[in-house]
Amino acid sequence: MSVAATYRLGTRLFWRDRTMLFASVVTPVGLAVGLPVLMRNVRPGQIAEVAQLFHGMLAVLLAITAFMNIVVALTSRRDQLVLKRLRTTRLTDAQILAGQIASTVTQTVGLILLSMVAVRFLADVPFPPDPLLFGAAIVAGSAVLALLGAAYTAAIPRAELAAAYTMPIFLMAGVGAGAMGPIPLPSFVRTALDLLPTAAVVDAVSTGAVLRPVLNLAAWAMIGAVALRLWFRWEPRRS
């Protein structure tokens, strides 16, 4: 019940915040739909390439709508002392965070599904051959990215810096997934980028792999949970 209450709060605030809606909805969906549509028109007949680009764009959606959004939401609520006020209620810390993460996952999955339908009709990208795997990958990916985002807030000194601090993550996720076109990379960088949780989702969706992505996401989930437990701050730094 209480997780449901924080879930509703997170969702209501997500859709109320017009500035963030531009950053977390319009931009990523615009990119995830717009670029494949553009490519479809520039290189007709290359459906496989267009589909691959769309799969890469999933990393961008995850990095922005799941990761960046929760980072910005939690740091600003931390700095506004709203998280502190939430702790004056009967909610436990776990319920507060779980509600927020669940809400972020819902928005992210919803936007991915919306983009999937849009590219099906606007860019002829076929629906995923294995809908169950696709669904599991985007839900698990969103959850892990939201969890990591919540944990990452500990590294961010002030809310104004939240977007700037997530930019490198967004770039790594995008470049790693090929969403920004083929960029020549040294092999160790390639290997490192392939270890990102966003890469695991793209891997599952585009190759149908299961074990590799599951292990990858499980490891990141562990890292996120431990970091959250050790370092999450409910109040701004006093200094």
């Binding site: 209480s2 209450a5 924080t6 509703r8 709060l9 209501r12 605030l13 109320r16 609520r77 506004q80 002392l81 709203v82 502190k84 006020r85 939430l86 702790r87 004056t88 209620t89 009967r90 909610l91 436990t92 409910w234 006093r238």
Partner: protein, 295 residues
């Protein structure tokens, strides 16, 4: 029955010892005031009582529960008005209360909560447009949503105008009359004196005075103040006085008797004591004495 029990409570931030082992108890249904200057440790005490931080030593119990380990259970029965906590600036007062009702078991109806806090007329106003005092009232409305048995109020009337303070005092008295235990911190001594049955004065993390409000004040006696007549030296007077500018102040266990003695002495010399003021000790006298002597 004791509602709040604090024993040898300690908390430091780095090298700074905010609380150096304080102990007190608050019986159920009583209003207890925790007084002190800014930085005395009042807010730290409230945050430890609310379970927001772990104490470095000592124990805190609210209804025999540990507010850190059993936070959810403590919250079921308590309300907290923190000195500083945020709102969502774009929600209206009514939406804010509704949001918080969602987090509360068996919440008061929204109208009742707003009425209680004197905010019914502001229900449709966005939080960002409220004045400081109105935000404080909203704070109070949220703290009261769950109909708490124990209420922690950290500087509840700071930023309120005179009317707001009086309204809040009425609410606090009303709740206490219904059996709510209330711990309030304040640096408005008048507020503590009007509301609280007992108190503790904190200074630099230590309790320097504590007890029932009436007994503590009675034990402090009172004072007689008057303008020192021209040509009279303090040493000429029948009772010892201290000078505060041209005002002579005589502290006495029985200020009425002291006043009589002084007036009789003056009449015998054909002198008039002007600006005469006789009063029992106030919390302010006590507070200033204690914090002055502690420094």
């Amino acid at each position: 029955m004791t509602a709040i029990r604090v024993h040898d409570l300690r908390k430091s931030y780095g090298d700074f010892a905010a609380l150096k082992g304080i102990s007190f108890e608050v019986p159920a249904g009583e209003i207890f005031a925790l007084l002190g200057r800014n930085g005395a440790g009042k807010t730290t005490a409230v945050e430890l009582l609310g379970g927001f931080q772990r104490p470095d030593g000592g124990t805190v119990r609210v209804h025999d529960l540990d507010p850190v380990a059993d936070r959810a259970a403590v919250r079921e029965r308590s309300g907290i008005m923190l000195q500083e906590a945020g709102f969502f600036p774009d929600l209206t007062v009514a939406q804010t209360v509704d949001t918080w009702r969602d987090f509360t078991a068996a919440p008061r109806p929204r109208g009742e909560a707003l009425e209680l806090a004197g905010l019914a007329a502001k229900a449709g106003t966005k939080v960002r447009q409220l004045s400081g005092g109105e935000k404080r009232r909203l704070d109070l409305a949220l703290a009261l949503l769950g109909g708490p048995d124990v209420l922690f109020l950290d500087e509840p009337t700071t930023g309120m105008d005179a009317e707001g303070r009086r309204d809040t005092w009425e609410v606090v008295r009303g709740l206490a009359a219904q059996g709510t235990t209330i711990l309030l911190t304040t640096h408005y001594l008048e507020e503590a004196q009007r509301l609280a049955a007992s108190m503790a004065i904190l200074d630099e993390g230590e309790i320097v005075a504590a007890g029932g409000m009436a007994e503590t004040l009675a034990a402090r006696g009172g004072r007689v103040a008057f303008r020192l007549p021209e040509g009279v030296r303090p040493a000429d007077l029948p009772l010892p006085v201290t000078l505060e500018g041209e005002i002579a102040v005589c502290r006495a266990d029985d200020p009425d008797l002291a006043a009589q003695t002084l007036l009789t002495w003056a009449a015998g010399r054909g002198l008039r004591l002007t600006g005469l003021e006789v009063r029992a000790a106030t919390l302010e006298d006590l507070f200033l004495d204690l914090t002055r002597s502690a420094r």
